[in-house]
Symmetry: C2
Subunit: 196 residues, 2 copies
């Protein structure tokens, strides 16, 4: 409808968000029309504020409003936990028994997506390890082919620096019913079994 151009534009804007199709975008747009003007203004402002003020921390590569993020200022890099994406830091930060630093690669080595080691922040990780005399690097990339490849690649690369490189444990999840666990996971769980 010609008299609803602005609604169509808003629907298109919502469709640019990850995983949002037409029907969902339409629901969100109607949701916005039902909000108070003040809330819509705040929503618009928060979009611009976030985009304008949040950059990547020069040290760890995570999102931050500062040049060096609070996490990097607070923690030394004796132990570095390496993750693929900023969202993974948010998850790992919730864990109470990890107090080290983070390093965000912004992707994993993945030939199918044309991501080579030079396309992700591996150089920066090596520089950090050298600079801070890091004792351990924990590879917390996803347990899939690109994640595993990246972990092994970095482990090889860091060997000359005498740093210990570890990988988060893989096996059956807590609370899983073995009946529904997939074969690859079960095989891995048996292969990496621990003595009691």
């Amino acid at each position: 409808m010609s008299d609803l151009d602005k609604l169509s534009k808003l629907i298109s804007a919502f469709r640019a968000l990850p995983g949002v199709g037409y029907k969902t975008a339409q629901r969100y747009a109607y949701g916005v029309l039902n909000m108070k003007m003040e809330d819509v203004n705040n929503f618009a402002q928060s979009l611009i504020d976030a985009k304008q003020n949040i950059h990547f921390c020069k040290e760890c590569g995570n999102f931050s409003e500062k040049e060096i993020c609070d996490h990097c200022l607070k923690n030394n890099a004796e132990i570095i936990c390496v993750v693929a994406e900023p969202k993974d830091v948010a998850i790992m930060e919730k864990l109470k028994n990890f107090n080290g630093a983070f390093h965000v690669l912004h992707g994993c080595i993945n030939p199918l997506e044309h991501k080579s080691p030079n396309d992700i922040r591996i150089k920066e990780l090596v520089a950090r390890v050298q600079k801070h005399h890091t004792k351990e690097v924990i590879m917390a990339t996803n347990p899939d082919v690109p994640g595993d490849t990246t972990a092994y690649y970095i482990a090889e690369l860091l060997k000359p620096f005498g740093v210990k490189v570890t990988r988060i444990a893989q096996g059956v999840s807590m609370g899983t019913d073995l009946e529904y666990a997939d074969e690859v996971t079960l095989n891995r769980a048996i292969e990496l079994r621990n003595s009691l």
Copy 2:
């Protein structure tokens, strides 16, 4: 994290959208951070533009940028299709064999949600029917208890005006496997069977 206040605010803003939980809001926020500044500015502007310019059409109650929407200007109200929400107009508009006017009730009669006949746009419908000497009112509210209640209520109310009130057909959907059709639908389909 204190240096990511603006990210938290953006996540909260997304959570205000219908059906969006924390994880989804977080994914959208990261999506925004990965957009170009220009696209984020356009997104913010489209929110404000839509909210500022889109109001309810005085005639049919649907969203419009004008006082009377294009649809109401173009179509006479000889046949009025009554729906519960503006989103239903968007769906009905796609049908090729309906050329009449629409009327949006903005809800259905629903005691559980404290919606009485006075809380929805029934008065306005009666006024329209009288003014335009409408010949038929098609009740296209949802086929559920509030939708049916509203349809019957309006049918009773419009009796004195000599207008024909019809209800969209209920039965099994095209392509349904009878095995999976629910009992209420099947019973309704038998009750309302047509001769061939």
